[in-house]
Amino acid sequence: MSGIPHNPDGQPLTVDQALININQTADPGLRYYAAWWLGKMRIRQPNAIAALLTALEDESDRSPDGGYPLRRNATRALGKIGEGYDQVVPALIKCLHCDDYYVRETAAQSLESLGDSSAVPALAALLDGGLAAAIQVPGKPHLVQPYNAILEALGTLGNPELVSIIEPFLEHDVPQVRNAAARAMYQITAEAQYAERLVSVLADDQLQLRRAALMDLGAIGYLAGADAIANTLAENSMKLIALKGVLEHQLNKQATSLDLTNEGRRVMELMDGLL
C-alpha cells in the first residue's frame, strides 16, 4: 500500500498517511487536504516542511479562475509550522509575487505570524503606487493587492520608517483597509489617535465592521478602549475575545506574568459582566 493515496471515509488522517498524500500527485483533492491538515495538526517535522515547500511550486492544481488552491493551503500551513526553518520565509516572500491574489494574501498573513522582519521590504513593496494604485480589480471581488493582510503584517513586523507609506491608506475608500492602516499605525507609533479611529468604528452602523474593529482592538491590546469594547452593540462572545486580548496585553507587560494590576482587574470586571 505504500505510496498509494489512502484516506478512508470517516477515518482520521495519520501523520504517515498525510505525508504520503501530500507527496503524491495522482489525487489533487487528497493532496490539498493533507496540506491543510499538516498545518492544522501542527506537524512541525522536516519532511512535512519539505513537502509543503514543494507544494508551493505546484502547477497542476488549478481552480477555474486560474488560482492555485494547493499553494493557498500550503502557504497557510507554513505560517503555522514553519518557524525555525530557514527556507520558509524566503519561499513565502516569493509567494508575495504569485499571480493568485489569495496566495499573496495568505503569504502575507503567514509571514506576519512567523514574525520575521526580513519580510518587511517585500511586503512594503506591494504598497508601491500608494492610494492611486490601490483599486479594485475589474470583475473580481478584491483590490489589486491584499492590502488588509499586508498592512496588518507591516504593523506587526514593521518599523517607524514605514509610517509615510502606510499613513495614506488611512484615507482609503474601503473601510477594512482604513482599519488595517489604523491598526498598523498604532502598532508602529503607539499613538492613541490611531487606536481611537478603531474605537470610533465600534459605533458604525454595520455589524461586520463593528466586529472587525473589536478584533483589531483586541489584537493591539488597546487598554483605553476597554469600556467602548464592552459597550459595543455586538455579540458578547466577540467582546470577550477582544477584552481577553486587552487583558493579556496588560499581563504580558509584567515581569512576572501574574502580577495583577488595577487596570487588569478592571478589564476582568468588564469581562465578568459579559459572561
Binding site: 452593540l233 493579556e248 501574574l258 495583577l260 476582568m268 469581562m271 465578568d272 459572561l275
Partner: protein, 208 residues
C-alpha cells in the same frame, strides 16, 4: 408642557410594529426599561427573533423583572428554537432563581454551544440561596461545586473563565478546600493567560 409618556401600551405597540432591526432594538429597550411584568410574554417572544441586539435588551429586561419571569421562561423552554433557548438560559442565569438550577447544571456541563455553557457556569455562582429551603441547600451547593470544578476543564477558554467566576461566587457563600485548590491549580496550569489571571484575582478576592 407635558412630555409624552411611554406607557406600557405604547411600548408594546412599538415592539409589535417595529419594521427594522434597529427599530426593534429601540422598542425592546423602551419596553424593558418599564420593568413591567405585563411585558414578560413579549420579551420572551423577542428571544426567538434572531436579532442579537434586541435579544440582549430582552434578556436584561427579564433579569430586571426577575423572579416573576422565571415560571414563564421555564414553561416555554421546550418550544424555543435553539437561539431562543440560549438566551432564555442567560436570563435564568442572571435571575438566579433556584427553580432554574437543574437546567443551569445541565447546560454548564453539556450544552454544545459555548456561549450557553459560559452563561450557565456564571449563573451557577449566582443562585439566590435564600430562596431555597435550607434543607436542600447543602446538597444543591455541592452539585454546583461538582459541575463547576468539572467545567474548569472545558475546551473553551471563555467557559473555563466563567467557571472560575462561578466558583469565586460560590466560595463567597461557602469556601471549600476543593474550590481553593482548584483555583490555585488554574492559576498555574490553565492554558490561557486570561483564565490564570481570573483565578488569581478570585483567590485575592477570597482572601479578603
Amino acid at each position: 408642557m407635558v412630555l409624552p409618556v411611554k406607557t406600557f401600551e405604547i411600548c408594546l405597540q412599538a415592539v409589535n410594529e417595529a419594521d427594522s432591526a434597529q427599530g426593534l432594538l429601540d422598542a425592546v429597550e423602551d419596553l424593558a426599561d418599564l420593568n413591567d411584568e405585563r411585558s414578560i410574554p413579549t420579551l420572551i417572544q423577542v428571544l426567538g427573533f434572531n436579532n442579537p441586539g434586541a435579544a440582549v435588551a430582552a434578556v436584561e429586561g427579564l433579569i430586571q423583572i426577575g423572579v416573576p419571569a422565571v415560571s414563564s421562561l421555564l414553561e416555554n423552554l421546550d418550544g424555543y428554537n435553539y437561539g431562543a433557548r440560549a438566551w432564555a438560559i442567560r436570563a435564568l442565569a442572571g435571575i438566579g432563581d433556584p427553580r432554574g438550577l437543574a437546567l443551569l447544571l445541565n447546560a454548564a456541563a453539556n450544552d454544545f454551544s459555548l456561549s450557553v455553557r459560559r452563561a450557565a457556569a456564571r449563573g451557577l455562582g449566582n443562585i439566590n440561596w435564600n430562596d431555597m429551603p435550607t434543607t436542600e441547600r447543602t446538597q444543591a451547593q455541592q452539585q454546583c461545586q461538582d459541575v463547576l470544578l468539572q467545567v474548569t476543564q472545558d475546551d473553551e477558554w471563555v467557559v473555563r473563565y466563567a467557571a472560575v467566576v462561578g466558583l469565586e461566587s460560590l466560595a463567597l457563600v461557602n469556601a471549600t478546600t476543593n474550590i481553593i485548590q482548584c483555583l490555585e491549580r488554574v492559576t498555574t496550569t490553565d492554558a490561557t493567560l486570561a483564565v490564570q489571571a481570573r483565578a488569581q484575582w478570585a483567590l485575592e478576592n477570597l482572601d479578603k
